[in-house]
């Protein structure tokens, strides 16, 4: 089985994000970029499938800040090949539609059975990658995947449908899956191994030229939500009144 994992870098949410002068993107200059946590789950799922069924795992990512570190870590964890797609400006926001186009352009020349990626990323304003990519490549796709069982020509996927319900279906290969959770927590790559990968591993580069830009929404402004101020809003009243208020809050979130 040939598995490709699409990974990406994302501003670290531990940071206080600031907005750039134009007010249309985060200020990318001083933020730390880390790999998207769901992509880590996708990589883990790929490596588990490799352990179980035997597979080659190729990791591909766009040129984004500190992406090399993510790719070397992937090598250290057991990926067979890592590819960096160049041609985008590493210091600007690559929106999901464009990201999908760039990946699709690379995948056109790549034969694969499964493409795994994270179910979402925190800046997916233009939608989540798996669906867009599946549609561009005209192959079946599924997201919010929590279980993958592979065979030669089909893959059985388990999706979380909300309310704990699981949807099980079977897709033809090749297929694109957006991974919500891998079978186990992403494995650990000891730092010594990552450093070894940095010395001996190789990141192959592949340039992608995009001719036509995809449709995407125009960002008018990006801004922090009004802060509710530090500390909790205290609910006042009798147990009956407070209970009613609490239930209202929970209901407003679409729960209960």
């Amino acid at each position: 089985m040939r598995i490709v994992v699409a990974m990406r870098q994302l501003a670290d949410l531990v940071e206080e994000l600031e907005v750039n002068d134009e007010g249309t993107d985060i200020d990318r200059e001083f933020v730390k970029f880390v790999s998207n946590e769901w992509d880590e789950a996708a990589l883990e799922e790929a490596l588990t499938l490799k352990d179980e069924l035997g597979a080659t795992v190729t990791v591909v990512a766009l040129d984004e800040p500190d992406v090399d570190q993510t790719l070397y870590a992937a090598l250290a964890k057991g990926a067979d090949r890592v590819v960096k797609l160049t041609g985008n400006d590493p210091d600007t926001w690559v929106r999901s539609r464009e990201r999908a186009q760039r990946l699709a352009s690379f995948l056109a020349g790549e034969s694969f059975d499964l493409l795994l990626t994270g179910v979402q990323a925190a800046d997916d304003l233009d939608g989540q990658l798996a669906g867009i990519l599946g549609s561009l490549l005209e192959v079946p796709h599924a997201a919010v995947v929590v279980g993958v069982e592979g065979s030669d020509s089909k893959v059985r996927v388990i999706q979380e449908m909300g309310g704990g319900l699981l949807g099980v279906s079977e897709l033809d290969l090749p297929a694109v899956l957006g991974i919500q959770a891998a079978k186990q927590t992403p494995r650990y790559a000891p730092i010594s191994r990552i450093r070894q990968a940095m010395q001996t591993g190789e990141i192959s580069e592949h340039e992608v030229e995009l001719s036509d830009a995809s449709a995407q929404v125009k960002v008018r402004r990006l801004y922090p939500p009004e802060s509710t101020g530090a500390g909790a809003t205290m609910l006042k009243g009798s147990p009956k009144e407070v209970a009613a208020e609490i239930i209202e809050i929970i209901k407003s979130k679409g729960l209960v």
Binding site: A11, L13, L17, S96, R97, A100, A122, D124, L125, G127, Q128, L129, A130, G131, I132, S135, P140, H141, A142, A143, V144, Q159, E160, M161, G163, G164, L165, L166, G167, V168, S169, L171, D172, A175, S214, A215, Q216, V217, K218, R220, L222, Y223, P224, P225, A232, M234, L235, P239, K240, V242, A243, E245, I246, I247, I249, I250, K253, G254, L255, V256
Partner: protein
């Protein structure tokens, strides 16, 4: 009149979720803005039959297989969209939305905004607000070319506006014939395995701390959790005492959870506990000590005695 707004009902297991009514309410407002019609698309027969009065048209896709298969849904919805050609498609950021919003937008060469929490008409354009970076930032986008797909965060709009008694015009679209060419089949819908609690997956958690005092008292909170259909979680002392098993522990040495709502009863908010739950969307804390550190991270708080509040909550949820 043409259909301007199409709402996708994510009624995968037959039941229409609350968010569909939220979308119907919002959809009504937007379609009135376009002065066009609002349509709802549903797999199979509607149930309940009579609460879709907000919509003008109801498409029911017949011939769908039971269960859920993304390629089949994509194909069927594609057919509906082709025949209705709406300006705006509304879906939620649940599984169906995450699966299909991007694919449909790509197929129809439309734009797509995800994580939407608000959408209003401004002249002929749509102004849409989305939550990015886990809610740390909001983005405002202007959409003036259609079709557009909006994938909406559940809980963003009121659902009662959309829950209107009435029966829209029915159109049955038989998708069964073409489904054989879909590149996938649905196998089954599996009920959640209730034996193993997974507190990390639940959208709502009822959590209890040492303030509960004894194992017998835990029962009180367990009743509330059951009434809310939420798993019970706990701080470490509750686990240490053997009042609840280890998989229920939240915190540094337990599970890291990120539910939509986290209810904390009798938990002081030690850093080791906060580490496991501080990224919940909404934290509601009940603690008799107004100075308890949990109130520094909670969004809502009360200093009522949990023994007064919990039974009241159970009553109101149950009733």
């Amino acid at each position: 009149m043409s259909v301007d707004v199409l709402v996708i009902a994510e009624a995968v297991a037959g039941e229409v979720p609350d968010v569909t009514y939220e979308l119907l309410g919002k959809g009504r407002e937007l379609s009135d803005g376009f002065s066009g019609e609002l349509a709802l698309v549903l797999a199979g027969e509607p149930s309940p039959q009579n609460l879709f009065g907000a919509a003008d048209v109801l498409y029911s896709m017949s011939g769908m297989e039971a269960g859920y298969c993304a390629p089949q849904w994509e194909m069927s919805l594609g057919e509906v969209i082709r025949s209705a050609h709406p300006k705006v498609v509304l879906v939620s950021t649940g599984t169906v939305g995450i699966d299909l919003a991007g694919a449909l937008a790509t197929q129809f060469d439309g734009v797509l905004a995800s994580y939407v929490i608000d959408a209003v008409m401004e002249g002929g354009s749509l102004v849409v607000t989305s939550q990015l970076y886990g809610g740390k930032l909001l983005s405002e986008v202007e959409i003036d070319s259609f079709p557009a797909v909006l994938s909406v965060v559940p809980g963003s709009f009121a659902s009662d506006v959309g829950r209107v008694v009435g029966e829209p015009r029915r159109e049955v679209i038989d998708v069964g014939g073409s489904l054989s060419s879909a590149k996938g089949i649905a196998i089954e819908l599996r009920e959640p395995d209730s034996s193993g609690v997974d507190i990390t997956a639940a959208p709502l958690l009822v959590s209890v701390g040492r303030g509960i005092g004894s194992k017998e008292n835990v029962e009180l909170v367990a009743e509330l959790a059951e009434a809310m259909k939420a798993p019970l979680s706990a701080s470490r002392p509750v686990i240490d005492q053997g009042w609840l098993p280890k998989p229920h522990q939240v915190g540094k040495s337990g599970k890291k959870v990120k539910p939509t709502v986290y209810l904390a009863f009798g938990i002081s908010g030690a850093p080791e506990h906060l580490e496991g739950m501080r990224s919940a969307d909404v934290i509601i804390a009940c603690n008799t000590d107004a100075k308890a550190p949990i109130f520094e991270v909670a969004h809502y708080g009360t200093t009522l005695d949990l023994f007064d509040l919990v039974p009241e909550l159970t009553d109101q949820v149950g009733g």
